[in-house]
């Protein structure tokens, strides 16, 4: 069964629609990747899935439950977590405090979740009492992932997690994402580095101007000549 099914989403900011009849699904413990040119509405999809923009039509089903009308906080409680592309950590809080805020909605003690996250990101354990603003770019991105994982989400939404990072660090972050998926968390990821992202994708969506253009497994899309020419630079 699909963890999340979004069908025929239309909507955007104010009067102008950015998404047009867009559909996507993701299965438990799988990774879905959204690629496409600038302005295709990739980030808007993420925001729509979390309820940060108003939809004019369409339906979002999460674990068999219709969540189209739910507030963002309610979706967070149900198990959807998001890492925005920029400003995705609290720079004036310590690493540990960032993680505590990540688990803000958890009522039970969070030490277990924190230890799990630290074992996934050992560097953060070392810097737990440092201000998050002092971390390097790659460490920040890890902290952003870690913060989102503190709620033990079932679905993680990642908005360009590798933007602005050096190639070595990109590989490291991709590796972490694979580990997260292996641990059973489903991921929907928007990526500029289409090649790298599609390599690890179970399912890929190519978006153009807010519409589905191509859909397929990662390797299908990578080998599709149309996709290669238009979106992967040959």
């Amino acid at each position: 069964m699909n963890l999340l099914t979004a069908t025929n989403l239309s909507g955007g900011y104010g009067e102008v629609d950015i998404l047009h009849n867009l559909s996507l699904t993701v299965e438990r413990g799988k990774i879905a990747v959204i690629v496409g040119p600038n302005g295709a509405g990739k980030s808007t999809v993420m925001r729509a899935l979390l309820g940060l923009i108003e939809l004019r039509s369409g339906q979002i089903i999460f674990e068999g439950q219709d969540i189209t009308q739910k507030f963002p906080q309610e979706r967070v409680i149900l198990g959807i977590s998001m890492v925005p592309q920029t400003r995705n950590i609290f720079v004036t809080l310590t690493v540990e405090e960032n993680l505590e805020i990540g688990a803000y909605l958890h009522d039970e003690p969070i030490s277990v979740a924190m230890e799990e996250v630290f074992s996934l990101f050992p560097i953060l354990a070392k810097r737990r009492n440092q201000m998050a603003g002092q971390l390097s770019g790659g460490q920040r991105q890890q902290l952003a992932l870690a913060r989102a994982l503190m709620m033990s989400p079932k679905l993680l939404l990642l908005d360009e997690p590798t933007a602005g990072l050096s190639p070595v660090v990109i590989d490291e972050v991709m590796e972490r994402i694979k580990q997260i998926v292996a641990a059973g968390v489903a991921v929907v990821m928007v990526e500029q580095n289409a090649h790298k992202a599609l390599e690890i994708a179970d399912i890929g969506y190519v978006l153009v101007q807010g519409r589905n253009r191509f859909t397929g497994t990662g390797s299908e899309l990578l080998s599709d000549p149309d996709v290669r020419v238009s979106f992967l630079g040959g």
Binding site: V76, P84, F90, E100, Y104
Partner: protein, 335 residues
């Protein structure tokens, strides 16, 4: 030598410490609103005024009941909790009726500043209408902890040291409140959430923090700060609605100098402003008289700036800091 130190303590250090404590509390109120609600709150001075007014009525009521078990401390200290409660109610009602609309409409900060000017006018008018424009004294209890005469007798020095009880109350209550505030911000769940919200509003929302809860706790803190700082200032000096309106500027100065949005900065800013206001306008002749041989003591008052410009000192510092380091001397919120 010792005499010089005593004069300095008596006329500069202690007054500046007590005045600075109250400015710091005021600046904390302004800076918290700036950090959480993201606007410069012009109504804060008059919020303090209304809070103090509540405390005054409460004091009179307690006095009329003959409650005086806390002598030699002033009765007004017992009134502060009631005043704080009343102010919490007032600010939450104002938030509900006025500010919330603009928050939900995502109005630009400048609109909120103008709105706070409207709130300022209403609160100012209310305090004038209810208690009147005249000075109100509501201090009772012992005036001095150490009086100049006693001190001279005890120490055998030529100069006396006088410490007013209200000065000590100001310093003690400010330090207690600051300590609690930092405990709250650093250690409690809601405090951390408040810092997170101030740091990055959208990410706080994504983490499931409810803005209304943060805003409410912010107003509660601001109300308590306003009630304590306003009442103690009134005890130490005098209560008059217009004076409290005028306090807004040194408070803003303290908050800006420390960096808007930074609690530590607000505290340091408060003391910095107080020490410069008092230090720059104090006539150091008497200090020099004890330090230098009589023939060296100059004729002038050794006063850097005339007392007339006491208020102007803080504004000048404010403007200078705004121009040289707009984020404040102690680095405020980067965002």
């Amino acid at each position: 030598m010792l005499d010089a130190a005593i004069v300095l303590a008596n006329f500069v250090v202690i007054p500046a410490l007590s005045y600075g404590s109250l400015l710091a509390l005021g600046a904390l109120g302004v800076t918290l609103v700036y950090a959480v609600l993201r606007f410069a709150n012009f109504a804060h001075g008059d919020t303090m005024s209304v809070a103090t007014m509540m405390a005054i009525y409460c004091t009179w009521w307690l006095q009329s009941l003959g409650i005086d078990f806390i002598r030699p401390l002033p009765t007004a200290l017992l009134a502060i909790p009631f005043a704080a409660l009343g102010t919490v109610g007032l600010l939450l009602v104002i938030d509900r009726l006025v500010y919330r609309h603009y928050r939900q409409a995502k109005a630009p900060p400048i609109t909120l500043v103008i709105v706070s000017v409207g709130v300022m006018l209403i609160l100012h008018g209310l305090s004038r209408m209810i208690i009147g424009v005249d000075e109100q004294r509501f201090f009772d209890g012992g005036r001095f902890i150490v009086s100049a005469g006693e001190f001279k007798e005890w120490s055998g020095l030529k100069e006396g040291l006088a410490i007013k009880s209200t000065q000590v109350i100001a310093i003690v209550s400010a330090v207690t409140l600051m300590a609690y505030l930092f405990y709250f911000l650093q250690r409690t769940r809601t405090g951390k959430a408040m810092r997170a919200f101030a740091d990055n509003e959208e990410l706080a929302l994504l983490s499931g923090i409810r803005p209304q809860k943060i805003v409410t706790s912010c107003w509660i803190l601001v109300a308590v700060l306003a009630a304590v700082s306003g009442t103690v200032y009134g005890l130490d000096k005098v209560y008059k609605p217009f004076t409290y309106f005028q306090l807004l500027l040194p408070i803003f100065a303290a908050a800006v100098v420390g960096g808007m949005g930074s609690p530590v900065g607000a505290i340091l800013g408060g003391y910095l402003i107080a020490f410069s206001e008092i230090g720059l306008t104090y006539a150091f002749k008497r200090v020099a008289g004890h330090l230098l041989p009589p023939s060296w003591v100059p004729d002038g008052l050794l006063q850097l700036i005339s007392t007339d410009y006491k208020f102007a000192v803080s504004f000048t510092i404010l403007v200078a800091v705004l121009l040289l380091r707009p984020t404040g001397l102690f680095r405020g919120q980067a965002s």
